[in-house]
Amino acid sequence: MDLSRADRSARLDALAAAYALGTLGYRTRRRLAAVARRDSVVAASLRTWEWRLAALTDGAPGVTPSPRVWERIRSRLGFDDASAVAGASAAGWWSSLPLWRGLAVAGLALAIALGISLLAPRERPFESIVVVLAGTDAKPALIATAERDGRYLIVKAVTNLRIAPDRALELWMLPDGRPPQSLGLVAATGIERVPLRSAAGVTLENIPALAVSLEPAGGSPTGAPTGPVLYTGRVERTY
Protein backbone atom coordinates (compact mmCIF):
# COMPACT_ATOMS: atom_id res chain seq x y z
CA MET A 1 0.00 0.00 0.00
CA ASP A 2 1.32 3.38 -0.91
CA LEU A 3 -0.43 5.89 1.26
CA SER A 4 0.42 9.44 1.99
CA ARG A 5 1.25 10.16 5.58
CA ALA A 6 -2.12 11.81 6.25
CA ASP A 7 -3.97 8.87 4.70
CA ARG A 8 -1.92 6.40 6.66
CA SER A 9 -2.59 8.26 9.88
CA ALA A 10 -6.35 8.36 9.22
CA ARG A 11 -6.40 4.67 8.30
CA LEU A 12 -4.45 3.76 11.39
CA ASP A 13 -6.78 5.80 13.56
CA ALA A 14 -9.86 4.05 12.13
CA LEU A 15 -8.24 0.63 12.55
CA ALA A 16 -7.19 1.40 16.11
CA ALA A 17 -10.73 2.56 16.90
CA ALA A 18 -12.18 -0.68 15.50
CA TYR A 19 -9.62 -2.69 17.49
CA ALA A 20 -10.52 -0.95 20.73
CA LEU A 21 -14.23 -1.17 20.01
CA GLY A 22 -13.76 -4.87 19.38
CA THR A 23 -15.34 -5.22 15.94
CA LEU A 24 -12.28 -6.56 14.12
CA GLY A 25 -12.06 -10.25 13.28
CA TYR A 26 -9.57 -12.52 15.00
CA ARG A 27 -6.84 -12.47 12.34
CA THR A 28 -6.89 -8.70 11.93
CA ARG A 29 -6.83 -8.29 15.72
CA ARG A 30 -3.82 -10.53 16.07
CA ARG A 31 -1.99 -8.92 13.16
CA LEU A 32 -2.57 -5.44 14.49
CA ALA A 33 -1.48 -6.46 18.01
CA ALA A 34 1.69 -7.99 16.54
CA VAL A 35 2.46 -4.82 14.57
CA ALA A 36 1.90 -2.75 17.72
CA ARG A 37 4.56 -4.76 19.53
CA ARG A 38 7.22 -3.50 17.09
CA ASP A 39 5.79 -0.15 16.09
CA SER A 40 5.39 2.40 18.84
CA VAL A 41 3.21 4.71 16.73
CA VAL A 42 0.71 1.92 16.14
CA ALA A 43 0.92 0.93 19.80
CA ALA A 44 0.22 4.48 20.94
CA SER A 45 -2.75 4.71 18.60
CA LEU A 46 -4.25 1.48 19.99
CA ARG A 47 -3.69 2.52 23.60
CA THR A 48 -5.24 5.94 23.01
CA TRP A 49 -8.42 4.41 21.64
CA GLU A 50 -8.55 1.71 24.28
CA TRP A 51 -8.33 4.26 27.05
CA ARG A 52 -10.68 6.68 25.36
CA LEU A 53 -13.32 3.94 25.15
CA ALA A 54 -12.58 2.28 28.47
CA ALA A 55 -13.49 5.55 30.16
CA LEU A 56 -17.01 5.07 28.82
CA THR A 57 -17.70 2.16 31.13
CA ASP A 58 -15.29 2.62 34.01
CA GLY A 59 -18.23 3.37 36.27
CA ALA A 60 -20.38 0.45 35.08
CA PRO A 61 -21.63 -1.91 37.79
CA GLY A 62 -19.49 -4.92 38.59
CA VAL A 63 -20.45 -8.51 39.24
CA THR A 64 -18.78 -10.31 42.13
CA PRO A 65 -17.06 -13.43 40.79
CA SER A 66 -17.19 -16.77 42.57
CA PRO A 67 -14.68 -17.11 45.40
CA ARG A 68 -13.10 -20.04 43.60
CA VAL A 69 -11.47 -17.64 41.08
CA TRP A 70 -9.33 -16.07 43.79
CA GLU A 71 -8.48 -19.48 45.16
CA ARG A 72 -7.27 -20.64 41.73
CA ILE A 73 -5.19 -17.49 41.29
CA ARG A 74 -3.60 -17.97 44.72
CA SER A 75 -2.82 -21.58 44.02
CA ARG A 76 -1.36 -20.89 40.56
CA LEU A 77 0.90 -18.21 41.95
CA GLY A 78 1.94 -20.46 44.85
CA PHE A 79 0.93 -17.96 47.52
CA ASP A 80 1.54 -18.84 51.12
CA ASP A 81 -1.32 -19.12 53.57
CA ALA A 82 -1.03 -15.51 54.70
CA SER A 83 -3.45 -14.52 51.96
CA ALA A 84 -6.04 -16.98 53.24
CA VAL A 85 -7.34 -17.58 56.73
CA ALA A 86 -6.55 -20.79 58.58
CA GLY A 87 -8.56 -23.71 57.23
CA ALA A 88 -11.88 -24.66 58.75
CA SER A 89 -12.23 -27.75 60.87
CA ALA A 90 -12.97 -30.85 58.84
CA ALA A 91 -16.62 -31.02 59.79
CA GLY A 92 -17.38 -27.29 59.75
CA TRP A 93 -19.37 -25.26 62.19
CA TRP A 94 -22.58 -25.72 60.30
CA SER A 95 -22.81 -29.47 60.81
CA SER A 96 -21.98 -29.45 64.50
CA LEU A 97 -23.79 -26.30 65.47
CA PRO A 98 -26.91 -25.29 63.63
CA LEU A 99 -26.63 -21.90 65.27
CA TRP A 100 -29.27 -20.26 63.16
CA ARG A 101 -32.03 -22.48 64.53
CA GLY A 102 -32.52 -20.91 67.91
CA LEU A 103 -31.27 -17.55 66.86
CA ALA A 104 -32.98 -14.43 68.01
CA VAL A 105 -33.49 -12.50 64.82
CA ALA A 106 -35.63 -9.52 64.08
CA GLY A 107 -39.24 -10.59 63.78
CA LEU A 108 -41.16 -11.06 60.60
CA ALA A 109 -42.98 -7.76 61.04
CA LEU A 110 -39.71 -5.87 61.18
CA ALA A 111 -38.36 -7.80 58.25
CA ILE A 112 -41.37 -6.97 56.14
CA ALA A 113 -41.34 -3.34 57.14
CA LEU A 114 -37.66 -2.99 56.28
CA GLY A 115 -37.93 -5.07 53.18
CA ILE A 116 -40.81 -3.22 51.70
CA SER A 117 -39.23 0.13 52.30
CA LEU A 118 -36.16 -1.13 50.45
CA LEU A 119 -37.95 -2.46 47.44
CA ALA A 120 -39.32 -0.16 44.82
CA PRO A 121 -43.12 -0.23 44.61
CA ARG A 122 -44.27 -3.17 42.54
CA GLU A 123 -47.51 -4.68 41.42
CA ARG A 124 -47.17 -7.46 43.96
CA PRO A 125 -45.51 -5.80 46.92
CA PHE A 126 -45.88 -8.84 49.13
CA GLU A 127 -44.13 -11.37 46.90
CA SER A 128 -40.87 -10.61 48.62
CA ILE A 129 -38.14 -12.43 50.46
CA VAL A 130 -36.47 -10.65 53.32
CA VAL A 131 -33.58 -11.76 55.48
CA VAL A 132 -32.38 -9.64 58.37
CA LEU A 133 -28.83 -10.71 59.14
CA ALA A 134 -27.80 -9.98 62.70
CA GLY A 135 -24.86 -10.73 64.95
CA THR A 136 -25.01 -12.32 68.39
CA ASP A 137 -26.20 -8.98 69.78
CA ALA A 138 -29.35 -9.38 67.59
CA LYS A 139 -28.76 -5.96 66.03
CA PRO A 140 -29.41 -6.03 62.27
CA ALA A 141 -26.18 -5.65 60.32
CA LEU A 142 -27.23 -6.51 56.78
CA ILE A 143 -30.61 -6.82 55.14
CA ALA A 144 -31.07 -9.01 52.10
CA THR A 145 -34.19 -8.59 50.01
CA ALA A 146 -35.41 -10.06 46.77
CA GLU A 147 -38.55 -10.23 44.76
CA ARG A 148 -39.84 -13.75 44.45
CA ASP A 149 -39.23 -13.83 40.68
CA GLY A 150 -36.18 -11.55 40.78
CA ARG A 151 -32.78 -12.80 39.72
CA TYR A 152 -30.77 -11.11 42.39
CA LEU A 153 -30.61 -10.35 46.08
CA ILE A 154 -30.17 -6.76 47.17
CA VAL A 155 -27.95 -6.79 50.23
CA LYS A 156 -27.78 -3.57 52.18
CA ALA A 157 -25.39 -2.88 55.03
CA VAL A 158 -27.50 -1.25 57.72
CA THR A 159 -24.51 0.00 59.64
CA ASN A 160 -20.98 0.66 58.51
CA LEU A 161 -19.37 -2.72 59.06
CA ARG A 162 -15.67 -2.44 59.71
CA ILE A 163 -13.58 -5.22 58.28
CA ALA A 164 -9.85 -5.42 57.60
CA PRO A 165 -8.87 -4.56 54.02
CA ASP A 166 -7.63 -8.09 53.39
CA ARG A 167 -10.92 -9.65 54.45
CA ALA A 168 -14.26 -10.01 52.73
CA LEU A 169 -17.79 -10.82 53.78
CA GLU A 170 -19.25 -13.90 52.13
CA LEU A 171 -22.95 -14.72 52.02
CA TRP A 172 -24.08 -18.33 52.43
CA MET A 173 -27.31 -20.26 52.09
CA LEU A 174 -27.79 -22.73 54.93
CA PRO A 175 -29.79 -25.67 53.60
CA ASP A 176 -31.14 -28.06 56.21
CA GLY A 177 -28.64 -30.81 56.99
CA ARG A 178 -26.24 -29.95 54.16
CA PRO A 179 -23.13 -27.77 53.89
CA PRO A 180 -23.59 -24.06 53.22
CA GLN A 181 -23.60 -22.88 49.63
CA SER A 182 -21.97 -19.60 48.73
CA LEU A 183 -24.00 -16.83 47.16
CA GLY A 184 -20.95 -14.63 46.70
CA LEU A 185 -19.33 -11.71 48.43
CA VAL A 186 -21.19 -8.76 49.88
CA ALA A 187 -20.00 -5.23 50.56
CA ALA A 188 -19.39 -4.05 54.11
CA THR A 189 -20.91 -0.69 53.26
CA GLY A 190 -23.66 0.43 50.95
CA ILE A 191 -25.71 -1.84 48.74
CA GLU A 192 -24.60 -4.90 46.81
CA ARG A 193 -26.55 -6.73 44.15
CA VAL A 194 -25.86 -10.46 44.34
CA PRO A 195 -26.88 -12.26 41.14
CA LEU A 196 -28.75 -15.57 41.49
CA ARG A 197 -28.77 -18.51 39.09
CA SER A 198 -32.55 -18.71 39.10
CA ALA A 199 -35.45 -16.73 40.52
CA ALA A 200 -35.01 -15.90 44.20
CA GLY A 201 -38.13 -17.90 45.12
CA VAL A 202 -36.55 -20.96 43.52
CA THR A 203 -32.96 -20.45 44.71
CA LEU A 204 -34.06 -19.89 48.30
CA GLU A 205 -36.70 -22.59 48.36
CA ASN A 206 -35.99 -24.95 51.28
CA ILE A 207 -33.34 -22.56 52.57
CA PRO A 208 -34.28 -21.70 56.15
CA ALA A 209 -31.47 -19.25 56.80
CA LEU A 210 -28.58 -17.21 55.41
CA ALA A 211 -25.26 -16.51 57.08
CA VAL A 212 -22.33 -14.17 56.51
CA SER A 213 -18.81 -15.27 57.34
CA LEU A 214 -15.52 -13.40 57.43
CA GLU A 215 -13.23 -14.67 54.68
CA PRO A 216 -9.96 -13.71 53.03
CA ALA A 217 -10.19 -11.15 50.22
CA GLY A 218 -11.80 -12.82 47.24
CA GLY A 219 -13.84 -15.16 49.40
CA SER A 220 -13.46 -18.58 50.97
CA PRO A 221 -10.63 -20.53 49.37
CA THR A 222 -12.26 -23.88 50.11
CA GLY A 223 -15.83 -23.38 48.91
CA ALA A 224 -17.01 -23.71 52.52
CA PRO A 225 -16.94 -21.02 55.20
CA THR A 226 -13.47 -20.79 56.73
CA GLY A 227 -13.75 -17.73 58.94
CA PRO A 228 -16.00 -16.85 61.84
CA VAL A 229 -19.73 -16.50 61.18
CA LEU A 230 -20.59 -12.90 61.88
CA TYR A 231 -24.28 -12.69 61.06
CA THR A 232 -27.17 -15.01 60.50
CA GLY A 233 -30.81 -14.53 59.67
CA ARG A 234 -33.94 -16.46 58.84
CA VAL A 235 -35.33 -16.37 55.34
CA GLU A 236 -38.74 -14.72 55.66
CA ARG A 237 -41.23 -14.84 52.83
CA THR A 238 -44.14 -12.50 52.41
CA TYR A 239 -46.06 -14.84 50.15
Binding site: Y26, L56, P65, V69
Partner: protein, 197 residues
Protein backbone atom coordinates in the same frame (compact mmCIF):
# COMPACT_ATOMS: atom_id res chain seq x y z
CA UNK B 1 -22.07 7.06 40.25
CA UNK B 2 -18.78 7.77 41.99
CA UNK B 3 -18.07 11.41 42.72
CA UNK B 4 -14.82 12.75 41.26
CA UNK B 5 -13.20 12.90 44.71
CA UNK B 6 -14.04 9.28 45.48
CA UNK B 7 -12.87 8.31 42.02
CA UNK B 8 -9.53 10.06 42.53
CA UNK B 9 -9.10 8.40 45.92
CA UNK B 10 -9.84 5.04 44.41
CA UNK B 11 -7.41 5.58 41.55
CA UNK B 12 -4.68 6.64 43.95
CA UNK B 13 -5.34 3.55 46.04
CA UNK B 14 -5.18 1.28 42.98
CA UNK B 15 -1.95 2.89 41.77
CA UNK B 16 -0.46 2.22 45.19
CA UNK B 17 -1.68 -1.39 45.18
CA UNK B 18 -0.28 -1.99 41.70
CA UNK B 19 3.08 -0.60 42.79
CA UNK B 20 3.11 -2.90 45.81
CA UNK B 21 2.02 -5.82 43.66
CA UNK B 22 5.03 -5.16 41.43
CA UNK B 23 7.11 -5.69 44.58
CA UNK B 24 5.44 -9.08 45.14
CA UNK B 25 3.25 -7.90 48.04
CA UNK B 26 0.59 -10.61 48.29
CA UNK B 27 -1.71 -8.68 50.61
CA UNK B 28 -1.70 -5.69 48.24
CA UNK B 29 -2.48 -7.98 45.34
CA UNK B 30 -5.36 -9.55 47.29
CA UNK B 31 -6.75 -6.09 47.94
CA UNK B 32 -6.31 -5.11 44.30
CA UNK B 33 -8.28 -8.21 43.35
CA UNK B 34 -11.02 -7.43 45.85
CA UNK B 35 -11.40 -3.89 44.55
CA UNK B 36 -11.23 -4.52 40.81
CA UNK B 37 -12.27 -8.12 40.11
CA UNK B 38 -16.05 -7.36 40.12
CA UNK B 39 -15.64 -4.67 37.47
CA UNK B 40 -13.44 -6.86 35.28
CA UNK B 41 -15.71 -9.87 35.74
CA UNK B 42 -18.67 -7.69 34.68
CA UNK B 43 -16.76 -6.67 31.56
CA UNK B 44 -15.99 -10.31 30.76
CA UNK B 45 -19.48 -11.57 31.46
CA UNK B 46 -21.08 -9.01 29.18
CA UNK B 47 -18.75 -9.86 26.32
CA UNK B 48 -18.44 -13.64 26.68
CA UNK B 49 -21.82 -14.41 28.27
CA UNK B 50 -20.40 -17.55 29.84
CA UNK B 51 -19.64 -17.32 33.54
CA UNK B 52 -17.14 -20.22 33.50
CA UNK B 53 -15.19 -18.73 30.61
CA UNK B 54 -15.28 -15.23 32.09
CA UNK B 55 -13.93 -16.70 35.34
CA UNK B 56 -11.08 -18.43 33.48
CA UNK B 57 -10.06 -15.23 31.74
CA UNK B 58 -10.38 -13.22 34.94
CA UNK B 59 -7.95 -15.69 36.49
CA UNK B 60 -5.56 -15.34 33.52
CA UNK B 61 -5.67 -11.58 33.72
CA UNK B 62 -4.83 -11.48 37.42
CA UNK B 63 -2.04 -14.03 37.10
CA UNK B 64 -0.69 -11.76 34.38
CA UNK B 65 -1.11 -8.65 36.48
CA UNK B 66 0.87 -10.30 39.27
CA UNK B 67 3.77 -10.88 36.89
CA UNK B 68 3.57 -7.59 34.97
CA UNK B 69 2.27 -5.05 37.46
CA UNK B 70 5.61 -3.29 37.04
CA UNK B 71 4.78 -2.39 33.46
CA UNK B 72 1.85 -0.25 34.54
CA UNK B 73 2.50 3.44 34.11
CA UNK B 74 0.28 5.80 36.06
CA UNK B 75 1.25 8.60 33.70
CA UNK B 76 -0.38 6.80 30.78
CA UNK B 77 -3.69 5.51 32.07
CA UNK B 78 -5.89 5.27 35.12
CA UNK B 79 -5.31 1.92 36.82
CA UNK B 80 -8.84 0.66 36.30
CA UNK B 81 -8.72 1.64 32.62
CA UNK B 82 -5.46 -0.25 32.23
CA UNK B 83 -6.91 -3.36 33.89
CA UNK B 84 -10.18 -3.17 31.92
CA UNK B 85 -8.26 -2.91 28.65
CA UNK B 86 -6.32 -6.07 29.46
CA UNK B 87 -9.52 -7.92 30.34
CA UNK B 88 -11.39 -6.64 27.30
CA UNK B 89 -8.61 -7.64 24.93
CA UNK B 90 -8.38 -11.13 26.39
CA UNK B 91 -12.12 -11.56 26.09
CA UNK B 92 -12.28 -10.21 22.54
CA UNK B 93 -9.38 -12.40 21.40
CA UNK B 94 -11.16 -15.40 22.87
CA UNK B 95 -14.49 -14.46 21.32
CA UNK B 96 -13.11 -13.76 17.85
CA UNK B 97 -11.00 -16.91 17.86
CA UNK B 98 -14.02 -19.01 18.64
CA UNK B 99 -15.88 -17.38 15.79
CA UNK B 100 -13.20 -18.72 13.46
CA UNK B 101 -13.90 -22.23 14.71
CA UNK B 102 -17.67 -22.18 14.66
CA UNK B 103 -19.88 -21.51 11.72
CA UNK B 104 -23.04 -20.81 13.64
CA UNK B 105 -23.12 -18.49 16.57
CA UNK B 106 -25.12 -19.58 19.56
CA UNK B 107 -24.23 -16.86 21.96
CA UNK B 108 -27.71 -15.40 21.97
CA UNK B 109 -29.58 -18.26 23.62
CA UNK B 110 -32.66 -17.29 25.59
CA UNK B 111 -31.14 -18.42 28.85
CA UNK B 112 -28.10 -16.24 28.37
CA UNK B 113 -30.31 -13.29 27.51
CA UNK B 114 -32.24 -13.79 30.72
CA UNK B 115 -29.04 -14.01 32.68
CA UNK B 116 -27.85 -10.77 31.15
CA UNK B 117 -31.16 -9.09 31.79
CA UNK B 118 -30.80 -10.06 35.43
CA UNK B 119 -27.25 -8.81 35.58
CA UNK B 120 -28.15 -5.34 34.60
CA UNK B 121 -29.03 -2.54 32.25
CA UNK B 122 -28.94 -2.53 28.46
CA UNK B 123 -25.63 -1.78 26.71
CA UNK B 124 -26.79 1.74 25.92
CA UNK B 125 -27.88 2.46 29.48
CA UNK B 126 -24.61 1.04 30.64
CA UNK B 127 -22.60 3.26 28.36
CA UNK B 128 -24.47 6.35 29.49
CA UNK B 129 -24.58 5.50 33.18
CA UNK B 130 -21.12 3.95 33.22
CA UNK B 131 -19.37 6.94 31.73
CA UNK B 132 -17.43 8.30 34.65
CA UNK B 133 -17.48 11.97 33.74
CA UNK B 134 -20.19 14.37 32.66
CA UNK B 135 -18.27 15.33 29.55
CA UNK B 136 -18.01 11.70 28.48
CA UNK B 137 -21.68 11.11 29.13
CA UNK B 138 -22.78 14.12 27.11
CA UNK B 139 -20.56 12.96 24.23
CA UNK B 140 -22.32 9.59 24.18
CA UNK B 141 -25.70 11.21 24.41
CA UNK B 142 -24.72 13.50 21.55
CA UNK B 143 -24.44 10.55 19.16
CA UNK B 144 -27.29 9.76 16.78
CA UNK B 145 -29.51 6.88 17.88
CA UNK B 146 -28.14 4.28 15.47
CA UNK B 147 -24.55 5.26 16.10
CA UNK B 148 -24.99 5.12 19.84
CA UNK B 149 -26.75 1.78 19.78
CA UNK B 150 -24.19 0.18 17.47
CA UNK B 151 -21.23 1.44 19.48
CA UNK B 152 -22.82 0.40 22.77
CA UNK B 153 -23.55 -3.13 21.53
CA UNK B 154 -20.11 -3.55 20.02
CA UNK B 155 -18.27 -2.20 23.00
CA UNK B 156 -20.28 -3.63 25.85
CA UNK B 157 -21.25 -7.00 24.40
CA UNK B 158 -18.47 -7.53 21.90
CA UNK B 159 -20.70 -7.83 18.84
CA UNK B 160 -18.91 -7.93 15.48
CA UNK B 161 -20.06 -5.88 12.48
CA UNK B 162 -21.96 -8.86 11.10
CA UNK B 163 -23.66 -9.51 14.43
CA UNK B 164 -24.53 -5.84 14.75
CA UNK B 165 -26.14 -5.87 11.30
CA UNK B 166 -28.08 -8.94 12.31
CA UNK B 167 -29.12 -7.57 15.66
CA UNK B 168 -30.11 -4.13 14.41
CA UNK B 169 -31.68 -5.50 11.21
CA UNK B 170 -29.68 -3.14 9.02
CA UNK B 171 -27.42 -3.72 6.01
CA UNK B 172 -23.80 -4.39 6.93
CA UNK B 173 -22.66 -1.20 5.18
CA UNK B 174 -25.05 0.95 7.18
CA UNK B 175 -23.90 -0.53 10.47
CA UNK B 176 -20.24 -0.12 9.56
CA UNK B 177 -20.78 3.51 8.70
CA UNK B 178 -22.74 4.12 11.95
CA UNK B 179 -19.83 2.70 13.90
CA UNK B 180 -17.20 4.60 11.97
CA UNK B 181 -18.99 7.95 12.08
CA UNK B 182 -20.01 7.44 15.69
CA UNK B 183 -16.43 6.80 16.72
CA UNK B 184 -15.17 9.83 14.79
CA UNK B 185 -17.75 11.99 16.43
CA UNK B 186 -17.04 10.56 19.85
CA UNK B 187 -13.33 11.23 19.42
CA UNK B 188 -13.93 14.83 18.37
CA UNK B 189 -16.32 15.40 21.23
CA UNK B 190 -14.04 13.81 23.83
CA UNK B 191 -11.01 15.70 22.58
CA UNK B 192 -12.95 18.97 22.53
CA UNK B 193 -14.12 18.34 26.08
CA UNK B 194 -10.46 18.11 27.03
CA UNK B 195 -10.79 14.47 27.99
CA UNK B 196 -7.15 13.56 28.32
CA UNK B 197 -5.89 10.13 27.42
Amino acid sequence: MPTPAVDTDRSARLVDLLARTALSDQAAFAELYRLTAPHLYGVGLRILREPALAEDLLQEVFVNVWHHAGSYSAAKAKPQTWLSSIMRNRCLDQLRRRELDTVSMTRDGDEVEMELAAVGPTPEELLVSGADANSVRSCIEGLEGGQRQAIALAFVQGLSHAELADHLRQPLGTVKSWVRRGLERLKKCLDAAGFAV
